[in-house]
């Protein structure tokens, strides 16, 4: 201790790395689990949880296919079958597709892709995850106790109303909506702010990776669409619990109001699920063609246009209701128009492939599968936009076939491609190639075996949502084929699971950038360190890694002893100011518990809404009130700012 030597000790780079790791380390242990706020941790939880619900929804689908394997089958009665198909749709849409395609992928990938250390509002992010988890558990516990919702995933009134759905079944459904939508809305705000404010310097608006564009546009779709279903499900639950009359025609209410509100959400919902898929496709096509994507501008415009047009087609779900003909025809026109952007995107990807140097690996294989399935689903979608054809096949298995082609084709195929693509990034190891091939081919064959015959079944007059059918209808053989196909899909997904568990430990080590990809998540180690990047990157082109100058600068000047990030400006990503990100904290978890209590209690008594508010207010205040390390750190940096000024 030499008092003369006032020069600070020159610290080595290794010291800095150690400190950075210590600063961003997730809290360990059992209690630590509830305090995590880093986007990678929450993102991985979202991925795993949503995938578990994909499996559960798949099991329900398998049960339905078993029931339909022969006419007048008595395997499941109508009561159970109705709960199962309702929960299949509900689980797949609200507990798998949206949380997976939007929340999980966006939360995990977007901060990495824009080159920052954490998502904006990390505590809100943790809160959103717990709400999703608790809502999902609530509705599944309801199903397992024979209180599963049974009015279909869109719960049309009056079938779901007080007069025809006694008990609590539909209440659980309506409240599950509230849980998951609050969660999705929170993530939407986080993603918008992350993309607008936390991009790496140089990543101006015209250089956003396509995946980031996709998730950003989806965030806006969530922001404008989800309020509609929050309201319709709230009105439904109010009709059921406190005797309001929104949907009761005897007291001036209207059953079609529900349908308008539901589909004003419900159609954009399809794009909320589908647009992230398009983002994955653009990403994988570029990487495995080893070139910049063809028609970047056109792709961006297509996503924006799809986002808008998605809000103007909802009435095509209601063509059979008897709404005035000319009124319906406007929505038919919009439904035709919305196929233009998707078509143009497909042409752009084909052009990319034609100009590329293909590296045919598993992710790209899934994209080829995507082309096959999605194009077919898209074309049947155009058919459904034509009103006379729609009123024939509406509510039949033709529609079931169509939306499985679109949703599985548009979301699950790219998602599996994305799993193979990003698995090495997330875990540091590659998925096994042989098992992956089996998975792809079994799944693709099984998928087409299951759903292609459904087009025929629909044309042959089989309505959807029937728990059985009569032998003389001539639907038996096609149904049997579909059930066998579902079996193949089931095996394929099992293989995938085996592959994941095996490869996590024994897969080939991936290295930083195994595919030679161009976006920023590949510019850090695999798996990424808890601080994402040792030094924040700067960006010199649309594919940051490919386009980096030989001496591309890095950002320097962020603290290593605090969770600090760089905020940039919205359009040009010029450095603007610095922000401290919160330390691990239990409060979001407590707030989520309080909110869960509020939501569930209000199913049983309207007073739950009143008493439940107090714990929510207390936990939210605890969350907000500055304390601990967050408070101290903030004071330190503000004192330094003041000293510098």
């Amino acid at each position: 201790m030499n008092p003369v030597d006032t020069k600070p000790i020159e610290r080595s780079a290794t010291d800095e790395l150690l400190q950075l790791a210590e600063t961003w380390r997730e809290p360990p242990g059992f209690w630590g689990w509830f305090r995590c706020v880093h986007h990678q941790t929450i993102g991985k939880r979202y991925i795993v949880t949503a995938f578990i619900f994909f499996l559960l929804g798949g099991i329900l689908a398998a049960l339905m296919r078993m029931q339909l394997i022969r006419p007048e089958n008595r395997f499941l009665g109508p009561d159970l079958y109705n709960q199962i198909f309702t929960m299949h749709g509900t689980t797949m849409m609200f507990l798998f597709a949206v949380p997976m395609m939007f929340e999980a992928l966006a939360v995990y990938l977007v901060p990495l892709m824009v080159g920052t250390r954490n998502i904006a509002f990390p505590r809100l992010n943790a809160y959103s995850y717990y709400l999703y988890l608790f809502g999902a558990i609530m509705v599944w516990v309801a199903l397992l106790t024979n209180t599963g919702p049974d009015a279909g995933w869109f719960s049309y009134v009056p079938l779901s109303g007080p007069g025809f759905a006694p008990g609590k079944r539909v209440d659980f459904w309506a409240q599950m909506i509230t849980f998951t939508e609050v969660s999705a809305l929170a993530v939407a705000v986080e993603i918008v702010v992350t993309v607008f404010k936390l991009r790496a310097p140089g990543m101006s608006l015209n250089r956003l990776p396509m995946m980031v564009w996709a998730e950003t546009i989806v965030s806006f779709l969530v922001i404008f669409a989800m309020p509609a279903i929050m309201l319709s499900s709230s009105m439904l639950i109010l009709d059921r619990l406190v005797s309001t009359h929104f949907f009761n025609p005897a007291e001036g209410g209207d059953a079609l109001l529900y349908q308008h509100l539901f589909w004003f959400f419900g159609h954009p919902e399809v794009y909320i699920i589908f647009i992230p898929g398009l983002g994955i496709v653009s990403t994988i096509v570029a990487t495995f063609s080893r070139r910049h994507i063809f028609g970047y501008m056109v792709l961006v415009l297509s996503l924006i246009a799809t986002g808008f047009l998605g809000f103007g087609v909802w009435v095509h779900h209601m063509f059979a209701t008897g709404i005035a003909g000319m009124g319906r025809s406007f929505f038919s026109a919009a439904s035709m128009m919305i196929s233009i952007p998707t078509t143009v995107q497909i042409f752009c990807w084909l052009a990319t492939l034609w100009g590329g140097k293909l590296n045919i690996k598993l992710p790209l294989l899934w994209i080829f599968g995507f082309f096959f399935v999605l194009v077919m689903g898209g074309l049947t979608g155009v058919m459904l936009g034509v009103i006379p054809v729609d009123i024939q096949v509406h509510d039949t298995y033709f529609v079931v076939a169509h939306f499985h082609y679109v949703l599985i084709g548009g979301a699950v195929f790219p998602l599996f491609g994305g799993f193979y693509y990003w698995f090495p990034k997330i875990t540091g190891r590659m998925l096994n190639h042989t098992l992956g091939n089996w998975h792809f081919w079994l799944f693709s064959i099984g998928f087409n075996m299951t759903f292609f015959p459904m087009h025929s079944l629909g044309l042959k007059g089989m309505p959807r949502r029937i728990y059985t059918y009569q032998p003389e209808m001539g639907w038996t053989t096609l149904n049997r084929i579909a059930t066998f196909g579902a079996g193949l899909m089931f095996i394929a997904v099992l293989l995938f699971l085996i592959n994941v568990f095996w490869s996590r430990r024994r897969g080939v080590v991936a290295g930083e950038n195994p595919w030679g990809a161009g976006t920023l998540e590949w510019a850090t180690s695999s798996p990424p360190p808890p601080y994402n990047f040792v030094e924040l990157p700067t960006v010199n082109g649309r594919e940051a890694v490919w386009d980096a100058a030989p001496n591309q600068p890095v950002v320097r000047g962020l603290r290593t002893d605090m969770r600090e990030v760089l905020a940039t400006n919205v359009l040009d990503a010029d450095p603007d100011h610095k922000e401290l990100m919160p330390e691990p904290t239990i409060w979001p978890f407590l707030a989520a518990l309080a909110t869960t209590f509020l939501f569930i209690a209000s199913i049983f008594t309207p007073w739950g809404l009143v008493w439940g508010l107090f714990p929510v207010a207390v936990t939210m205040t605890g969350w907000f009130w500055p304390k601990g390390k967050d408070k101290v750190n903030q004071e330190i940096v503000e004192a330094e700012d003041a000293a510098r000024a």
Binding site: L198, P227, D254, A523, E535
Partner: protein
């Protein structure tokens, strides 16, 4: 390539050491967060108002079978809301100037105004002249008023907590950003009241 994990010092750098930690308005993250929230809530209000007019088309008489809502409580609240814009804007400006004394006074005023609004809101529900379960009209006006009340209550609570913080908590610049954004949210509560007031109290008289 941007790899080079272990070689932080060899690369040219963009030095941001001099950047500050607080930013107000469109530059701050909180502004965008609040903006997102306002867009969500605004959409929600718009959809309830749309439902109101939709239900209007399903019947000939409006309000159906009940009297027009009594005007005074809503109108008084409207006047208070409009008047509160002045201290609220002053509070916002004071926060952006980091003027602690003014912020404390401004927060107290807005807190009290919110109490007044809430007190009068109690009289607004009976002024609707119907119950939520009278008919669909009753359901939709109660929902509209109830939804606005929830926002009023939320922002009131938020303001009270901020007031407590500014008096008893640690004073940090970051908190002034929160005050400024809270003032933005109060603007939202005030501005949405104008169309909602018109729909609830005047549309039954006009249509």
């Amino acid at each position: 390539m941007l790899q080079g994990l272990e070689r932080p010092s060899e690369r040219p750098s963009l030095d941001i050491s001099d950047l500050k930690h607080t930013a107000f308005g469109i530059r701050s993250l909180v502004w965008w967060g609040t903006f997102g929230l306002i867009v969500i809530e605004g959409t929600m209000f718009a959809i309830v108002v749309a439902s109101y007019f939709y239900l209007r088309t399903r019947t000939t008489e409006w309000p159906p079978g009940v009297a027009n809502p009594t005007l005074w409580p809503g109108t008084v609240n409207l006047l208070i809301f409009l008047a509160s814009a002045v201290p609220n804007q002053w509070l916002k400006r004071s926060a952006e100037q980091l003027n602690l004394g003014a912020v404390r006074i401004g927060l107290l005023i807005v807190s009290l105004v919110a109490v007044l609004n809430l007190a009068i809101r109690i009289f607004e529900f009976p002024a609707l002249q119907c119950k939520w379960d009278t008919n669909a009209y009753g359901s939709v006006v109660w929902t509209l008023l109830g939804l606005h009340t929830i926002h009023l209550l939320t922002d009131a609570y938020d303001t009270w907590v901020l007031t407590a913080l500014m008096f008893f908590g640690p004073i940090q610049r970051k908190r002034f950003v929160d005050v400024s954004e809270n003032a933005d949210y109060w603007w939202f509560v005030v501005l949405t009241w104008i169309p909602i007031y018109l729909v609830i109290y005047w549309v039954p008289r006009w249509l």
